[in-house]
């Protein structure tokens, strides 16, 4: 029910805030989504669409964070896997 999926804003129409709409692409499937609740959204942004309305804009730098963290983990693992270097 709270499913919201990310899609890319291709174009925006409508002047009035309440009726601002965008053509949003969900992996190639394009739908008309209301942008009334995301006044900050611009063309090229990824929005989270729920029941025909964008409820938030995805922050691309933050989206990278999980993967950076995983890279860090991998690097740490290599360090700690060196056997018995530091006696505990």
């Amino acid at each position: 029910m709270c499913l919201a999926i990310p899609g890319e804003v291709l174009s925006i129409e409508g002047e009035e805030a309440l009726y601002r709409c965008g053509r949003v692409s969900f992996g190639g499937i394009v739908k008309r989504i209301s942008l009334a609740l995301t006044p900050e959204a611009v063309v090229g942004d990824y929005v989270l669409a729920h029941a025909g309305v964008a409820i938030g804009v995805i922050n691309p730098e933050e989206a990278q964070r999980t993967f950076d963290y995983l890279d860090e983990l991998a690097a740490l693992e290599e360090l700690t896997e060196t056997p018995d270097e530091i006696p505990s």
């Binding site: 919201a4 990310p6 309440l18 992996g27 938030g56 964070r65």
Partner: protein
């Protein structure tokens, strides 16, 4: 699809699972609040990837599942009126009321239509000025601004033939009720990501402090859930209790302010009864004046009256995490998605439906995680 499929990467999943294994030293019981998360967990077998010390229990997180039976009865009663064009999300159609469901009402001739958005219902009201268009406004905080937008649009257009049957519920009061129960087993919460996209998470800080329970705002993809579990377990291991945000790409502490402002304009908090949990104070949203003119219960004179729930259905225990769906005696026997006894078996995000779909192999049978 961008921002979706990357979060299902098997190698990354494995790394996180290993990190969780390294972190855990004792048993922990976590509850994921949202039905979308429950569905991901059961579908991808995330619970089976986790070390045995970690138990995930499924929370009340599906607005369809907690909609009380009397509201379903009212929906059916309204839909049966000749002038009414009744619109609903597809999930609600098969939820059983006391005697029947909306799907059966439709088969019997009621004009019930499945819509994707409440804004579609507003458009239907414009297109059919002689019909009364009613939208079944079910949802958590995620859906509240969307329903508010529909009412607000109808109001600015002066549409007289649009109304909503309001079944809006709020998540923090339900989490509070779960923590306050003497049977509570929850040691940490994975809070519902999209609810927080709208509301932010400052509300959870007091709850977290009061009950000394870690709360991690968590997304819906396998990597999100595993990272949420890791953050939560780390807190428990360090005996800390804080609100943390795993779902940073979609959630800011203050939430979506434009959405919150619209919700406040149109709705106000009110008591709400939850299927299986009973009435929880200030756990729902009701229309505030002048928008209460769009309240279908008022328009059709159906305020009040409660109905008893079927005794065989243990949905109350399932929704609070006291039992797993398979422990309900009716599961898969008297209660199936074709002939559901309770809402959690119907909704695509209901815990019982998720278990019916993905977990019917005999207990103990080895199943490989589906990634």
């Amino acid at each position: 699809m961008k921002f979706l499929h990357e979060y299902r990467d098997a190698a990354a999943v494995e790394k996180l699972v290993r990190e969780i294994e390294r972190t855990v030293t004792r048993p922990h019981t976590l509850m994921e609040v949202c039905g979308g998360q429950t569905h991901s967990i059961v579908k991808f077998g995330i619970d089976r990837l986790l070390p045995a010390e970690i138990t995930l229990i499924h929370g009340p997180g599906c607005p369809v599942c907690v909609t009380p039976i009397d509201l379903i009865d009212k929906a059916i009663e309204i839909a049966a009126r000749r002038e009414v064009l009744f619109c609903s999300f597809g999930d609600m159609l098969r939820v059983p009321g006391s005697h029947t469901d909306l799907f059966a009402a439709k088969a019997a001739g009621a004009d019930v239509r499945m819509v994707y958005s409440p804004l579609d219902a507003v458009r239907l009201a414009q297109a059919h000025p002689r019909r009364e268009v009613v939208f079944f406004a079910v949802g958590f905080e995620t859906t509240a601004p969307v329903n508010a937008l529909a009412v607000f649009q109808a109001h600015t257009q002066g549409l007289k033939n649009f109304s909503i049957l309001c079944a809006q519920v709020l998540v923090p009061p339900a989490m509070e009720a779960i923590l306050a129960s003497p049977h509570c087993r929850v040691q940490g919460f994975l809070a519902a990501g999209h609810v927080c996209t709208v509301m932010g998470y400052h509300e959870y800080e007091a709850l977290c402090q009061r009950h000394q329970t870690p709360i991690v705002v968590t997304g819906f993809e396998p990597l999100d859930i595993l990272e949420g579990v890791l953050l939560c377990v780390r807190q428990l291991e360090e005996r800390r209790a804080a609100v943390e945000n795993q779902y940073v790409r979609a959630v800011r502490r203050e939430g979506n302010l434009a959405a919150q402002a619209l919700v406040q304009t149109v709705f106000q908090p009110g008591a709400r009864s939850w299927r299986g949990l009973g009435e929880i104070p200030k756990s729902g949203l009701v229309l505030r004046p002048p928008y209460d003119a769009y309240d279908a219960e008022k328009r059709f004179g159906l305020e009040g009256h409660a109905v008893a729930e079927p005794e065989a259905c243990r949905s109350g225990d399932v929704l609070q995490g006291f039992i797993k769906p398979v422990e309900c005696p009716a599961f898969g026997v008297l209660c199936t998605p074709e002939r559901p006894l309770g809402a959690p078996m119907v909704s695509s995000e209901g815990a019982c439906a998720a278990y019916y779909r993905y977990r019917r192999e005999p207990a103990g049978a080895a199943a490989s995680p589906r990634l």
